[in-house]
Amino acid sequence: MNAISYLSGGTFHRYSLFGINILVHGKTGAIWQLDDLSWKLLDGQSAEPEGDALAELAAIASEARQAEERFAKQGALYAENLEEGPTHLKSLCLNVAHDCNLRCKYCFAGKGAFGGERGLMSSEVGKAAIDLLMQLSGPRQNCEADFFGGEPLLNWNVVKELVSYGKEQAAEYGKQLQFTLTTNGLLLDDEKLAFINEENMGLILSIDGRPEVHDRMRPDLGGSGSHSRVLAKIKEAVAKKADDNWWVRGTYTSWNLDFTQDVKFLVEAGFSNISLEPVVTDEEYQLREEDLPKIEREYERLASYYLQRQREGKPFSFFHFNFDLAKGPCLAKRLLGCGAGHAYLAVSPRGDLYPCHQFVGQEAYRIGTVFQGIEKPELGDRFRQAHIFNKEKCRSCWAQLYCSGGCHANALAKNGDLMLPDELGCRIQQKRLECAIVIHVLTSAHAQIPA
């Protein structure tokens, strides 16, 4: 097979965005930038092949072939280790409150209660969860726990007790335990913010962007919009946060496919760390495959806005456009993906363990309890085996080593099959990666950012 045919088939993917031509090799994760001449050659558009460009295409084809062979051997080895080797827990999502002071329509918690009784986690359950994390994390030095809900600030005393207990236990086990807290911000006050600063906790602050978008999805118990109160609280929290360990995080739905406007709102409100996530739901505002052309165009618009702010010297960070190739993830991480079910578990208020926060309350996915430990190791094994080498769809995808197989919960929700990723999620991921790669190229040293 000649170089051009090879580079045009298999898991190679090429695209142009903002005048930048990119070629990605899915099987190894290698990325190249091509000039217009080599691009035309690869595209079969050039009638007069230019010697140097052709030779360079042959050189990268040869490099890719060798890398592919080497990677096939190494990757298989790591995959075997991932499936058969020891597994270590690293992170917990502590659902300390199955209750909320808002009634957000798309909440995983089904408006706060996760389909069950409203309830708060006791400190006994929380401490047992931390004990389990210490015991099951083996040689891991850095562990994590996120206070989640519902609204975790409804159970503030337990949050404080668990941070203190967690730090003590981590010191005893010679580990670091990093806490984060995901909140709508309404109950934040000076005392809580001081504690969060003292304990170096990360903050994830939930706001969707424009007032009308936020208020439609995030009403309070009386049905009134919460935007103005949330915005004021979140601004105060960010102003008083002693470090940069915070994000404002929103959700977009089919009702705001012009979500760049929501990011703009957040940027103009003064926030510099922003994450905006596609909604996970089967309600009327769900994202559908027919929305994809709009969603894809919108990510390009967002990338364009991101670059504009960079040019103006007023940059912001967008979670899914962050892409540090120099310090990117190792191969093991690329295979492992999110770690749900073995490296990452969610804990319900009464102490049941689930593969991740999206499974909480689903009896079939209850993997154990904080008191009894892992009772269904076979369930965790199913998640461990659901890595990119075992998923047919991932093996043929150009983004496999950047996405790492997508969201398990979405695969099960959409297809009823852990091994079959949700197509919509795949397409969104691919588009975000396309944008992130081009942004990386354009914002690297010496690059010209086009107007």
Binding site: E277, G328, P329, C338
Partner: protein
């Protein structure tokens, strides 16, 4: 030195040369995401 093509990233091959799988990096779906895991944007925490 190539004139027409620039390698932006060597991909997983380069990263497989480092000591790998130490597990000290941030969990992918923790905190800022929670719905649509991206691994490519997770930094390696290991000091060079």
């Amino acid at each position: 030195m190539m004139k027409h093509i620039k390698r932006i990233d060597a991909g997983a091959i380069l990263s497989s040369d480092k000591q790998i799988g130490c597990g000290e990096c941030q969990a992918s779906c923790q905190s800022a995401c929670k719905t649509s895991c991206t691994v490519g944007n997770q930094n390696c925490q290991k000091e060079e």
